[in-house]
């Protein structure tokens, strides 16, 4: 049964997206930078190293607890740059607006974007606006692209994980995806679940100061922690073992996931990073991370192994083992 049209799960950030990107885009644009399949590309410019990245945002609803599509569009691209160890500098912003969009909403989004840019220390230096007839887009879509400079001596990339590395995360998982989903579906819990959307470059800077040898940094956005770790495992040809009992999951997120039959490991984050670091530096790094406002709940959640290259597995609470696959299907469309 040959598929002749684009299907929703090809935008999920999981395996189907991966295959589309690899099979079509990377093939067609073929170059060494793209082949690395990292969050942003590192290019040489006038002797310095520049990180470049772009991302589009189609989240529905456009305003959600903890942020909106505007702040998200800034944080997302800032984080993609930060995950190469870059200092983010300049962003561009493209808007596709649907006829009939409330100006008040647009203002709210754009103001949040400005604020997020100021907070992240980046300038939005160019932009573009298009309006399409009603029904040809859903309210508004935003694309941002960004550049940043990578300090000398920093070599952070998805293919650098080494057996023995400790895997760290800077806090609870699944917050963004569940905040958006609960808002969209009108689900209310005891405490409102808020998106974790935040710029991570400052945390990264502090981490790299104490440990310039950090091997991998990735932000587990669409497809969640499970998908991102699978990508790292494949890029680095290593296995990754997680400890179920070490995974930080907020009580409300755990409850909401339970109710909806979702696995927090696959739910998107927008203010989290996964780090693979030499084990002997893990403790010191964790201390630095925990002192940062975006890392108070940092944890060591697993380790990089020689066994099972290309795969992620999990030691369960009761002591069993199982595989952790990439996201499959369209678990949560339009989450960012």
């Amino acid at each position: 049964m040959k598929q002749r049209t684009v299907q929703l799960d090809q935008g999920s950030g999981g395996r189907a997206t991966h295959e589309l990107v690899k099979g079509l885009f990377v093939e067609a644009f073929r170059n060494e930078f793209l082949l690395e399949m990292n969050d942003s590309a590192l290019v040489q410019l006038n002797g310095g190293r520049i990180a470049m990245s772009t991302d589009s945002y189609v989240v529905d609803p456009v305003i959600f607890p903890g942020g909106n599509i505007g702040s998200l569009a800034v944080h997302g691209t800032v984080n993609d740059l930060a995950m190469r160890g870059a200092r983010p500098l300049y962003l561009t912003a493209g808007f596709i607006l649907e006829e009939g969009l409330s100006l008040e909403t647009l203002e709210q989004v754009v103001r949040a974007m400005g604020e997020a840019a100021r907070e992240s220390g980046v300038l939005i230096v160019a932009g573009d606006t298009k309006v399409v007839p009603r029904g040809k887009a859903d309210k508004l879509f935003i694309n941002t692209a960004g550049v940043g400079v990578v300090p000398p001596g920093i070599h952070v990339a998805g293919q650098n994980a080494r057996p023995g590395d400790a895997v760290l995360i800077n806090g609870t998982i699944g917050d963004h995806g569940m905040a958006v989903l609960c808002k969209r579906e009108g689900l209310a819990f005891e405490n409102e679940i808020r998106s974790d959307s935040a710029p991570l470059h400052d945390l990264v800077r502090q981490m790299l100061e104490v440990c310039p040898r950090i091997h991998v940094l990735r932000d587990p956005t669409r497809g969640g922690v499970a998908t991102t770790l699978n990508e790292i495992a494949q890029q680095s040809s290593v296995g990754i073992r997680l400890l179920e009992e070490a995974l930080p999951i907020g009580e409300d997120v755990a409850g909401a996931c339970e109710l909806l039959g979702l696995d927090p490991l696959y739910v998107a984050n927008e203010g989290k990073l996964l780090a693979c670091v030499p084990a002997d530096e893990a403790e010191e790094l964790l201390q630095v991370m925990r002192r940062h406002p975006l890392g108070a709940k940092s944890r060591r959640i697993g380790e990089v192994t020689v066994e099972e290259p290309g795969r992620v597995f999990l030691k369960t609470r009761i002591g069993g083992h199982r595989l952790v696959d990439m996201l499959r299907g369209e678990q949560l469309p339009r989450i960012c």
């Binding site: 049964m1 598929q3 002749r4 049209t5 684009v6 299907q7 395996r15 189907a16 295959e19 009992e245 009580e251 755990a254 409850g255 339970e258 066994e307 099972e308 795969r311 597995f313 999990l314 030691k315 369960t316 609470r317 009761i318 002591g319 069993g320 083992h321 199982r322 595989l323 696959d325 499959r328 299907g329």
Partner: protein
Amino acid sequence: MKYLDEYRDPELARRLLSRIEEIAPGDRVIRLMEICGTHTVAIFRSGLRHLLPSTIRLISGPGCPVCVTANEDIDRAIWLAKQPGVIVTTFGDLVRVPGSTSSLNVERSNGADVRIVYATIDALQIARATPDRQVVFVGIGFETTAPTVAAAVKQAAAEGLVNFSVLPVHKLLPPAMGALLEEGNLQLNGFLCPGHVSTVIGASAYEDVVNRYGISCVVAGFEPLDLLHGIYLLVECVVKGTPQVLNQYRRAVSRDGNAAARRLMDEVFEPADSTWRGLGPIPLSGLRFRNSWRRFDAGERFSMPVIQVREDPACRCGDVLRGLMEPPQCTLFRKVCNPQNPKGPCMVSGEGTCGAYYRYHTESL
């Protein structure tokens, strides 16, 4: 969520495991089938299989509604989706199941209006909102979902919604358990019975199986400790040679189940012969509309032609569903068949056995 943590306690799990080890016989294999796909997934997710003594074998059964839906029923849903003006609604995974030549998902990307709903009531809402379109709900599922479909049909009747109908593909579990045992080549020693279905049919619904086949049935919940406790009870029954129905899942399941839900189901539907993927036709193992409700049957409303069904001979879902084969034994498993490109429903469904093996199982663990 606190209350669930007590069913996941590692220390209690260890204690249950050592008790199972104590009573498990060293000299013969005990074969237990978890009928329900939710159990299969819960077992894999907790990594429990590797922790059990080697003489206790867990076999996955036919308890995933998407998986047991026969090709001909998938084809009928696809035919409906291709009719002008028709909106086909159903639960998530079914849209990705390959029928003879296509899937609802493929038809959707070719322009058919196929919508995923989370409850039958959502389909009703679509019917209200689009009075100029015919809305068909493809009703899959076991005794748990059938009452909700009956309720939706009654609601549609009360509102005079003439553009809502159901393609009833519901299945009843106990007759399938009987059919599996009749086949006789599984050598089962016990059934781990599904918590959800049992909330409706009650633990007593398995008495027939116990009496006729002398095999124990334990109703169990879905948390690691529920599963371990359920397995412990089953092993104990087998070792003692006292086949019986036991209910481990008292916090949700009663002896008699939910009579109101069953009444609702009985009012609208009646048992009918039904074809299961893998198991073939099983007498009185499905549901059809009673005469007075037949006007809601999509099969009647649209004059459906007889569809030529084609099975993929390479896909071994039938054997997997009957517990005769483990997915890694299928030559297509992982190599050709994976969740992105599923050859059979057992790989599509979130509760399918092949999908569970693909996602959670690796030989080397």
